[in-house]
């Protein structure tokens, strides 16, 4: 047993830390810390800074312009980014499409697409979920019918995150209705400027706009935009699911949230005392700290396992389940710590002059509601439990 990083890993962490200290724009970090919405420009700015350092595409091999990091390096980088309140890298081009093209794409596709992801020319979004197929991707209905050199796409995608900023979308589409439902699915690249596509915002529970619906009506897409073989889409989707799952425990987010919460509990006063001195509150806080400390190790254990085996096993579903439970508990406790001050609808005013809540906490209730999504999206915790039951428990 050795819970410490190697000297090389420690050196890497110090390098990342120094980089973040020097290069992360403080106005952007401030927004992240306070849970405010980032603009497209904010995200592009951070991507450009990372790209300049060669750290934008963590997992891509160096020959494609990636950092070529291993799992431990990625983990260190992600954790440090969280602690520094860096924006999350928009994953659709970098961590989803990129690896798919590197594994399944043609050389032409790689050459055409990858550099434009890195330099920010293209913003990709994801067309996986459909209104009738959330956790159950195999039942998707959006059709792509071959018509000469083109596919003609009809259907509807939903939960398309940050689609409002995107100019491209990669989709899972049904190219066959024969055999098992999984067998007739293909993976295809679509330019959002193509006629027949309409993107509509979905307003979320807390009022934010981060996801969208995308409607396809007779959208003609060149056949060479198909990635891999026709009807190979399920294989590609599964590849992403097993190989590219990273940071699913969200430990970095939780550590950062815990530190913010502890500081909040030292600012808030109840009954003439600091909230952190209230035993009931402190008990909840300590309980989460303990679960989080354990989670850090569970995360490292599975990381070590993945490092050894090349890919995370089904037990990594535990990370998703418990990781989201812990994050949500932290959001819950922050909201509660604020009392009535959590209740106002977030606005610039409330964060600025009015200061109903302590600085950086005006959006804690909104964050709590928004983060109810993390146990739903990306394979709900119920689905994760089903996966575990089958794979690990053999039930």
């Amino acid at each position: 047993m050795d819970l410490n990083f190697t000297p090389e890993e420690t050196a890497f962490r110090d390098e990342v830390r120094a980089f973040l200290k020097d290069e992360l724009p403080s106005e952007v970090a401030d927004k992240v810390r306070a849970g405010r919405e980032l603009t497209k420009a904010d995200m592009e700015r951070w991507h450009a800074i990372l790209n300049a350092r060669g750290w934008l595409a963590a997992t891509w091999p160096k020959e494609h312009g990636g950092a070529g990091w291993n799992a431990v390096q990625r983990h260190i980088f992600e954790e440090e980014c969280c602690l520094a309140s860096a924006p999350r890298i928009v994953p659709f081009g970098l961590f989803m499409l990129g690896p798919v093209l590197i594994k399944f794409g043609s050389p032409e596709q790689q050459k055409a697409v990858l550099p434009r992801i890195l330099d920010g020319s293209d913003w990709w979004c994801q067309g996986y979920s459909e209104p009738g197929a959330g956790s159950d991707l195999a039942s998707l209905k959006t059709r792509a019918v071959r018509d000469g050199d083109h596919y003609v796409i009809n259907g509807q995608k939903t939960w398309t995150t940050l689609g409002q900023h995107a100019n491209k979308i990669f989709c899972l589409v049904r190219t066959s209705t024969e055999g098992k439902p999984q067998q007739g699915i293909s993976f295809i690249l679509v330019d959002l400027d193509t006629p027949g596509i309409e993107m509509r915002p979905i307003k979320l529970i807390e009022g934010g706009h981060e996801v969208n619906e995308v409607f396809f009506t007779d959208v003609r897409v060149p056949a060479e935009n198909l990635v891999g073989e026709e009807n190979q889409g399920w294989t590609i989707a599964k590849y992403l699911l097993t190989h590219e799952r990273t940071n699913i425990a969200g430990v970095g987010f939780s550590v950062q949230a815990f530190e913010q919460l502890k500081s909040l509990a030292q600012q808030v006063r109840r009954g003439g005392k600091r909230l952190i001195d209230n035993p009931l509150f402190a008990a909840r806080l300590a309980q989460i700290e303990i679960d989080l400390e354990a989670m850090k190790i569970t995360n490292l254990r599975m990381l070590a396992e993945a490092q050894k085996n090349g890919a995370p096993g089904p037990e990594s579903s535990i990370l998703k389940i418990k990781g989201t439970v812990i994050r949500q508990a932290l959001n819950d406790l922050s909201r509660r710590a604020l009392g009535p001050a959590a209740a106002p609808f977030p606005s610039e005013d409330l964060e600025g002059n009015l200061a109903v809540a302590p600085a950086d906490h005006a959006r804690d209730a909104a964050r709590y509601f928004n983060n109810r999504k993390i146990s739903i999206f990306g394979g709900s915790n119920e689905i994760q439990k089903n996966i575990l039951t089958k794979a690990m428990l053999e039930l």
């Binding site: 159950d136 039942s139 307003k203 009022g207 109840r270 909201r335 609808f345 509601f369 109810r372 119920e382």
Partner: protein, 357 residues
């Protein structure tokens, strides 16, 4: 022993439910609840005409109710409709004015909207911690301090403010136009305000208001419990409906046993919440009023959070959207815990009572 409403109360509940169902549907509600003035003044007038405000106070004070079950009867329908009208501030103001023997007519008729300004930044729930000061000034009084997150304060004509003169906490009336009031909307709909008082002119309503304020808080908390029960019932039904109709992996998701058992747990907690609210309503006006209300508010806080979170999780995505009504029910259910004392605040009160009994 029986658990049926009197005919009068059932009629009132029916009337309210019908009015709200017919004229205050969720789309209308969402339109008015999130935009200034964060309620619907026209509907407020109609609502007042229906008479529910009169049900909040006893006959001696010009009403026709005022018992615990009257309060529950009014607020459960409001909860079912997620109604953002400021009935709660009216109830609490009525209790305070009645305690002072003042004329309630302007309030009960709906003509004057009151807000009750208790909480402060460092004193969100507990009366003892109130720091706003009242000082004599000529014939009247002057108040100095900041009242934070005053529900209904954004659209109130008058404020009843809790402030201390030395060790004694009293209640003072302030005209909205005399104070610096900044209104805003709430994350779960409805409005509130920050009220800044700086030697602000005030009229003393109650010199020593400890008991009256606790009573107003108790009645307010009971009302919130009943409101939550109404909102939980609707949320539960919505979820049950969804489980029956939504299909995944080729079958209704309600056929999955893990979800079924969680539905039973929701249902169980809702019934427990209904029971404790009934108990609290029955104990209003008795010595056990405050402690029982604290029990109710604690259980409601836990149950409402469970129902909200489980409803969202079992809907799986759709209830994360603004468009789907369950999201607004979930927000209200969670945020009720931030009003008039949260689960821990009330648990501490119940803990204190463990010793005596």
């Amino acid at each position: 022993m029986h658990f049926e409403l009197t005919d009068d109360r059932r009629m009132l509940a029916d009337t309210l439910n019908r009015f709200l169902t017919d004229t205050y549907g969720i789309e209308h509600r969402n339109k008015v609840a999130y935009e200034a003035p964060f309620h619907d003044p026209a509907k407020w007038a109609e609502l007042a005409e229906l008479g529910p405000l009169f049900a909040l106070v006893p006959e001696e004070q010009g009403g026709f109710g005022g018992a615990g079950f009257d309060i529950a009867t009014v607020f459960e329908p409001l909860g079912r409709a997620l109604c953002p009208e400021p009935v709660l501030p009216a109830l609490m103001a009525a209790r305070l004015l009645a305690a002072a023997g003042e004329d309630l007519e302007p309030l009960l008729s709906g003509a004057t909207r009151y807000a009750v300004a208790l909480g402060e930044t460092d004193a969100p729930y507990a009366l003892e911690d109130i720091a706003t000061e009242a000082a004599p000034a000529g014939e009247g009084w002057e108040l100095t301090g900041r009242k934070s997150v005053v529900y209904g304060g954004n659209a109130a004509g008058k404020f009843l403010v809790a402030a201390r003169a030395g060790d004694v906490i009293g209640v003072y009336e302030v005209d909205a136009e005399d104070a610096a009031v900044t209104g805003y909307g709430m994350i779960d709909g409805g409005g509130a305000a920050e009220v800044f008082l700086e030697k602000t002119k005030a009229r003393q309503v109650l010199a020593d208001a400890g008991a009256a304020l606790q009573d107003a808080l108790d009645f307010g908390a009971l009302a919130l419990c009943a409101e939550a029960v109404g909102a939980m019932d609707v949320t539960y039904d919505m979820t049950l409906d969804y489980l029956k109709t939504r299909k995944q992996f080729g079958r209704a998701i309600g056929s999955f046993q893990a979800l079924q058992h969680r539905m039973v747990e929701m249902k169980t907690e809702i019934e427990q919440a209904r029971s404790i609210t009934i108990l609290a309503a029955s104990r209003m006006g008795t010595e056990e009023q405050s402690r029982t209300v604290s029990m109710a508010k604690n259980l409601i806080g836990r149950a409402a959070k469970l129902v909200a979170e489980e409803a969202i999780q079992m809907h799986g995505g759709i209830a994360m959207t603004w468009e789907y009504p369950a999201s607004h029910y979930a927000k209200r259910l969670v945020m009720i815990d931030h009003q008039l004392g949260d689960t821990d605040h009330h648990l501490e009160k119940v803990m204190a009572g463990l010793q005596v009994a």
